[in-house]
Amino acid sequence: MKTRRCPTKLLVCIKQVCETETSFLIDETGRWIRLEEPSAFRMNRPDEYAVEEAVRISETIADSSIEVISVGPARVSAAIRRALGMGAAHGIHIVTPEDGYLSPFVTASWIASFARNREYDLILTGVMSEDEMQGQVGSMIAELLGMPCATSTVSERLLPETGTVRVEREIEGGLRDALELRLPAVLTIQTGINEPRYPSLSKLLRANKYELETIDSRSIGDPEPPEQVIRVSYPEHTRAGLVLNGTGQEKAAHLLRILRERSLIQ
């Protein structure tokens, strides 16, 4: 097996998403969502686990460095800075002109073309974004770069000296699928793999002054989106969905009556 050059280079892909409790409105075209104003944004939760995992790797491997990359409009720089506050050394922002549907293939293509000649040993992503819930970007980056990939990773051990990483993927039925991947590789990180730290204040202060590497998305290719979103709507109810009314106490009393009628409670 080829011995790899030090240092170990890690890239973490992060997405900024809006709070789950946000009200999602449908925009004028009916083809995409619009957020209520003002909306709160934060880092996609699985990506926090990915950043944390990278930081833990770099703490155990001397001479390693972490870079983070995010694709999106101007606001996403806040998420990048948070990752810098957690311990990443460098941030890359692929700037897109506006909010709107971005095909996961397009996102993956941009990140892959950025990463192609940069000799990353390990690329980490979250398992899924909380807003679009595609579960595609990490997997596609791997395929576009011809790298092996493990999704839903719940444990990993990087062995730079052998040029491999050992991982466990979480699968159904409480089982785990153990794999050894040849580096460079892509891992999509499942939540719960670690406990993401809070950014340190001193690092955050430094991050706020740090100049991010910004790249205009139009300058790194124009991949054709393989699919379009043609309409968005609110889901239908699949059950009775009786909404209880009144004060909290009235609702409690009503719920108790319903459960008693069904003999579900004494």
Binding site: Q134, E143, L144, A150, T151, T191, P235, V243, G248, L256
Partner: protein
């Protein structure tokens, strides 16, 4: 015009077909209804004969069983490598897999290889302006998006439980075509499937499950969940993945895609948003009550009774209501101010 091809990737483990394969088949049947098509099931692995014969018997469809010696469980590199060659020949318009951890791993990779579009978590198939589209939910289940492939081929993953699985009595068995392929992965090596989590959670035996989501806010509020569960006979406490990730509950209490699948008489969901990955574990419950402070939470779409309230204030009210409604005991001090 010749019929188009639809390929279903079957899931199996240790010589047994996984039931989720029938969910995927049901989606393929929907596609077939929209456009004349030949549906084939493809299985890959060392031990494919058993699952292959089950499928041809039950569905009457033909199965291509790629017998790959040494492949004891799913491996992404082998699957994509073997499927790429096979699908280059079959040129299917749709490749359907399950929205499981396997499908999630495979579908995007396969789509890139085949220059196909990829639509994950499909819940419905529809035709809009003469073109086939797929409906999927996003934003924790709050929004449905209709996605239209712009490519000749589409790889889709099917949300389990979304399509009606039908079986007909007298099907003429299809044919099994077993093809041996040797494929040595070069960049990855499977080290085997291990047990990560013991399954004796008490969830399966329970008639009533009270389940906690991130919306319970803090660990201390689990006490409320426990007290609520104690009101019911034969009850157990479960939770969502985030609650387990936070260490508030053990992972064996997790309900959902990568946790337990449960079908209790009553599922009492507290502070749970209703993401598909959670619903797949509990949508078969007989009666669902949901308490959530967000009136738009997706859990309300599958609930029988919806309570838009803060769990931390509502649960104490409910517990108190129950206590006060009991016949007064000899030393009881609680007045009967019942309505």
């Amino acid at each position: 015009m010749i019929d188009q091809n639809i390929v279903v990737i079957g899931e199996h483990f240790q010589g047994k077909l996984k039931r989720v394969t029938y969910d995927v088949l049901a989606c393929a049947r929907e596609l077939e209804r929209l456009r004349p098509a030949t549906v084939r099931v493809v299985l890959l692995g060392d031990d494919v004969a058993g699952p292959a014969y089950e499928i041809v018997q039950v569905t009457g469809l033909d199965v291509i069983a790629m017998h790959i010696p040494g492949l004891l469980s799913y491996n992404r590199e082998v699957y994509t490598g073997v499927l790429e060659d096979l699908l280059d020949v079959l040129k299917p318009a749709y490749i359907c897999a399950a929205a499981t951890t396997e499908g999630l791993d495979l579908a995007p990779a396969l789509a890139v290889r085949l220059r196909a579009s990829c639509v994950t978590g499909v819940e419905r198939v529809l035709e809009v302006d003469g073109r086939v589209c797929f409906a999927r939910t996003m934003c924790g289940g709050k929004i449905v998006a209709q996605v239209r492939p712009e490519t000749d081929a589409a790889v889709v993953t099917v949300q389990p439980g979304s399509f009606e699985v039908t079986t007909s009595e007298d099907t003429i068995p299809g044919a099994v075509d077993i093809r041996r392929v040797d494929f040595e992965p070069r960049r990855s090596r499977s080290l085997g499937v291990t047990i990560g989590q013991a399954e004796d959670s008490g969830l399966q035996e329970a008639d009533i499950i009270v389940s906690a989501g991130r919306g319970i806010g803090k660990r201390e509020n689990l006490d409320l969940i426990d007290r609520l569960a104690a009101l019911f006979p034969k009850s157990a406490v479960g939770g969502t993945r985030p609650v387990c990730d936070l260490g508030w509950l053990e992972y064996k209490k997790q309900v959902g895609l990568t946790g337990a699948t449960v079908t209790p008489e009553l599922y009492f969901a507290c502070g749970i948003s209703g993401a598909q990955q959670h619903l797949s574990g509990m949508r078969g419950a007989h009666f669902i009550v949901a308490v959530n402070s967000d009136p738009h939470a997706a859990i309300f779409n599958v609930a029988d009774v919806c309570v838009v309230e803060d769990v931390a204030t509502f649960l104490p009210l409910f517990i108190k209501e129950w206590e006060q409604s009991l016949p007064a005991r000899e030393t009881s001090t609680s007045d009967s101010d019942s309505t």
